[in-house]
């Protein structure tokens, strides 16, 4: 019988490398019987979406602290005309 700790590991492993047949069966049996790990499975998938959205989000203007960029632009433009 899988422990919950092991089950959550397999839930993640499933996503990256896939599971062996034995692991698939073990995990399936565990999540059918353990409501917490079943929740973890569902939530882990939701989390993928949330984290992806967070990481891919285009920052709206003004979120970075104000930073004077005119020097940078000058520097880049002088590099480009070399």
């Amino acid at each position: 019988m899988l422990s919950c700790r092991k089950a959550t590991e397999l839930i993640e492993k499933k996503q990256i490398t896939g599971l062996s047949k034995k692991e698939k069966i073990q995990l399936s049996m565990h999540t059918k019987m353990c409501k917490y790990c079943h929740r973890y499975d569902v939530q882990s998938q939701q989390l993928e979406q949330y984290i992806e959205a967070q990481i891919m989000a285009e920052p709206s203007n003004g979120k970075a602290p104000k930073h004077e960029l005119s020097e940078l632009k000058k520097r880049i433009n002088s590099q480009l005309s070399k």
Partner: protein, 193 residues
Amino acid sequence: MMDTTNKLTEWVNQYTDSLYNWAFMKVDHAQTAEDLVQETFLAAHKAIDKFQNKSQPKTWLLSILKNKIADHYRKQYKMQLVNESEISKEGSSDVLDKFFDAGGGWKKDMRPGEWESNETHLLDNYDFLEVLKGCMQGLNKNSFLALQYKFLDEKDSKLICQELEITPSNFWQILHRAKIQVRGCIDKNWFNN
């Protein structure tokens, strides 16, 4: 070619601000963000023939910037791994011990609570995104970088492992530790379980 330089100069004036914002959000360091933006324009200059007006300049520049950022993460990640492998020799504890008891069962106050099933509208909720951001920033550097690297570019896991020089097994174990922490943090701080 003068023409190319003029076009690039126009782009520098037009897009530096938004590229800098993006870079800063990713690397949280003004000097690094500046350097990455500079590298982006220089790379664009070299590769201008590939551009050919097939897409918006901003989109193209942003894709170059993302690659530069990914390179930056990769370097940081490797440095971080070196540091941490030295630390772990002193027998530091595993993050997972926070969540599971000696028998491998969920600790009582760590058990996943119920989440509302209305997933997608949360992505439009600014307050939720702030909580999520806070939870992600609470991760150790290793975990944080692995997540960033995974999602920044829609790369294949195998390719990611090759680039970071880790095994797939290491990769999912690090991701697992990252996600279990983020999940737990959201569970407590947003869903109030």
